[in-house]
């Protein structure tokens, strides 16, 4: 197993491979493993470090710089600004996500097939890809021993209100509900690509260069032949050593923000002008409720299920317990007031409203960094208000004594009657507080260079030898947790990738 880090690199060193894959998350690890298993010589470039299961712990201040891009300090600009989180480590976002494995709704895949004129993206044609991925990441429902009180509370609340609740299938093998998904699963149950696809790739001869940031594509005579990267010194964070990789094909799998950032540096995607556009982020609004007795929501699986009653409106409701550091960071309270609320941490149910994108934003380059811009529409805003009201009503139905709302000018409701103020007080889209982990779009797949960035094999229309395999491929929003769809599309890219003779 070859995993190198900054201390292993020598100045001027050149690595050769048949395929270089930039990124090891849901897209990169899958495409790399599939190719390695097919006998290809694969080399991964990963900006983050390699952190094995035994290094994971429940402490946020440790995990943020180790596992997250920019130590979690990333934000989408717009009205409102939306903080977002993405993984930066071997395994990428799959190491720090909840591991939900929802297939996209059939109508979404039908739309993709219609938009692109390619039945291969339809529900029937995609089924074998989903089956294959689900088998490899053990996508299964939870064992009863892993389910915590917050999941049961949400399910019971949905039942009382007559709403449809569905148990999540998750990428897990014998998950026991330690609820540390966000800081890396310390039991080894979550089947992130760190534990599922990367070992497959490495055992088939793939190599992984960690702590290397890909800066530019290596382009010769109009063809992509490699990547220029820089080794990142872990102590100083200076990019102080050149790392060059030459390959017959390059797969860019850096996610929906970093992938267009890298490609825009070469002024690619010009035929359609779509590169960086079509940015989708499936934002969510947090709704915290405190109950008279302790729930210990931090014990038991993170998100045992979802309320899907409002799925047709693009609204999902779910619970998601996070560590005290995350709650404290997102609260609008300071000093004693913050501590008073946090003392109720054990009695808190942490839930959220996810709303499917109704329009798109854009990713550009700005001062040497990616700049994501996205503003929610009036329609999205109305759905958020509806979703928050539904979720808060559920909490009061279940006996909550207080609900902390995601509005900068209306923080708390003490009874169900207070919820009537939501519509009255929330006329501006800028007062809602959102967050996201589901960034998508920006290099949309399609059947012509006039309307898309890549073709249906993931190859860039205007740069032979360069492929994309991550969430940026999505032609439209999926409205569900995107991991499984990313993995299925990455499998498709691996199957269709062709190397020059």
């Amino acid at each position: 197993m070859t995993i190198l880090s900054h201390r292993d690199y020598r100045a001027g060193e050149l690595y050769d491979a048949e395929v270089v894959v930039v990124g090891t998350g849901a897209g990169g690890a899958v495409v790399g493993a599939e190719l390695a298993e097919a006998g290809r010589d694969v080399l991964f470039l990963e900006e983050g470090g390699y952190h094995p299961t035994s290094s994971f712990n429940p402490y946020l201040a440790e995990s943020l710089p180790r596992l997250y891009r920019d130590a979690g300090g990333t934000i989408i600009m717009g009205r409102p600004p939306i903080p977002y989180a993405e993984g930066r480590c071997v395994g990428g976002g799959t190491v720090v996500n909840g591991g939900m494995t929802w297939r996209p709704p059939e109508e979404v895949l039908t739309e993709w097939a219609t938009m692109t004129g390619q039945p291969d993206l339809g529900a029937k044609a995609m089924e074998p890809l989903f089956d294959r991925v689900e088998e490899r990441i053990h996508a299964k429902p939870q064992h009863p021993s892993s389910v915590g009180e917050d999941s049961r509370l949400l399910e019971e609340g949905a039942r009382r209100l007559g709403w449809r609740y569905e148990h999540n299938h998750r990428a897990q093998d014998r998950c026991v509900g330690s609820n540390q998904c966000l800081t890396g699963c310390p039991t080894g149950a979550k089947q992130s690509t760190l534990l599922s696809y990367m070992p497959r790739a490495l055992s088939n001869g793939a190599r992984c260069l960690t702590e290397v940031r890909a800066h530019r594509l290596w382009i010769e005579r109009g063809r992509c032949v490699g990547v220029f990267g820089k080794g990142v010194n872990p102590r100083t964070r200076e990019e102080d050593i050149d790392v060059r990789v030459r390959a017959k094909a390059v797969v860019v799998s850096c996610g929906a923000v970093q992938t267009p950032f890298l490609l825009l540096g070469h002024r690619l995607g010009r035929p359609s002008g779509q590169l960086g556009k079509n940015f989708l982020c499936h934002p969510n609004a947090k709704v915290l409720a405190t109950y008279p007795s302790d729930l210990y929501a931090w014990q038991g699986v993170s998100q045992g299920g979802q309320i899907r009653e409002f799925r047709d409106e693009g609204i999902l409701l779910a619970e998601n317990a996070v560590p005290p550091g995350t709650v404290g960071a997102q609260m609008p309270f300071l000093g004693e007031e913050a501590l008073d609320l946090m003392k109720r941490y054990n009695a808190m149910a942490m839930t959220g409203v996810l709303v499917e994108d109704s329009h798109a934003g854009r990713v550009t380059r700005s001062f040497g960094a990616p700049m994501a811009k996205y503003t929610i529409t009036r329609y999205d805003h109305d759905r958020f208000l509806r979703g928050v009201r539904h979720l808060a009503a559920l909490h009061f139905e279940m006996g909550a004594d207080k609900v902390i709302l995601p509005f900068s000018n209306f923080h708390a409701a003490n009874s169900v009657d207070d919820l009537a103020q939501i519509e009255r007080s929330q006329r501006s889209r800028s007062t809602i507080e959102l967050f996201t982990v589901h960034m998508m779009g920006t290099c949309r797949m399609g059947s012509t260079p006039r309307e898309s960035v890549v073709d249906l094999s993931g190859a860039l229309w205007d740069l032979p030898g360069c492929y994309v395999a991550d969430a940026s491929l999505f032609p439209t929003a999926v409205g569900v947790n995107p991991q499984l769809t990313i993995m299925a599309l990455a499998t498709l890219v691996a199957q269709r990738l062709r190397l020059p003779n």
Partner: protein
């Protein structure tokens, strides 16, 4: 390896935490003042403010340099916010802690989005670090270590063939009537 040995705060996996970003004495004073005003006054140790400030400066190292510089610029803007909010002539560093806290709290509720945006950075960095400390966890009656260790052990037994039973389920509330 025993579960208690695998949940260390500073896991020995050969990975190096970055050094804190270098800042001048004035910027450090501003950060300390903001931390003091934002964090709960207790529980604290003698080094709480230095610790969370140090953590913030470490985190800035992981961001693009332009983001780090913008963040620090934002902190100076916050320090002078009493002036540009027409609430006084003195910066936060010259105000008593309670007055500084009241002022910052009013910014989190401002109707102007850019003002609230300014507060997101320090709130996120300082609070995430503060509420991750053991002595604060004790105040919250939150101790994930034993539970996570027990779950690691439970999974180990499961992998060896012993499937969890009803005694391994997680219950804290009385069973509700149907």
């Amino acid at each position: 390896m025993l579960p208690s040995e695998v949940l260390q705060r500073h896991p020995d996996d050969g990975w190096t935490l970055a050094a804190p970003m270098n800042v001048g004495a004035r910027t450090r004073r501003v950060l300390l003042r903001l931390a003091d005003a934002i964090l709960p006054p207790r529980p604290r140790t003698e080094t709480t403010l230095e610790d969370v400030t140090e953590h913030a400066l470490v985190c800035l190292r992981y961001m693009p340099s332009s983001t780090g510089l913008l963040f620090l610029l934002g902190m100076h803007l916050l320090n002078w916010s009493p002036l540009w909010r027409l609430r006084g002539l003195r910066p936060l560093t010259a105000l008593p802690t309670d007055a500084a806290r009241r002022h910052l709290a009013s910014l989190t509720r401002s109707r102007w989005l850019p003002v609230r945006l300014l507060m997101m950075g320090p709130l996120g960095l300082f609070m995430s670090s503060y509420f991750d400390q053991d002595y604060v966890h004790r105040e919250l009656d939150y101790d994930p270590g034993p539970f996570v260790a027990e779950r690691i052990e439970l999974r180990r037994r499961w992998v060896e063939g012993q499937e969890p039973g009803t005694e391994d389920e997680i219950h804290h509330l009385p069973v509700r009537a149907p």
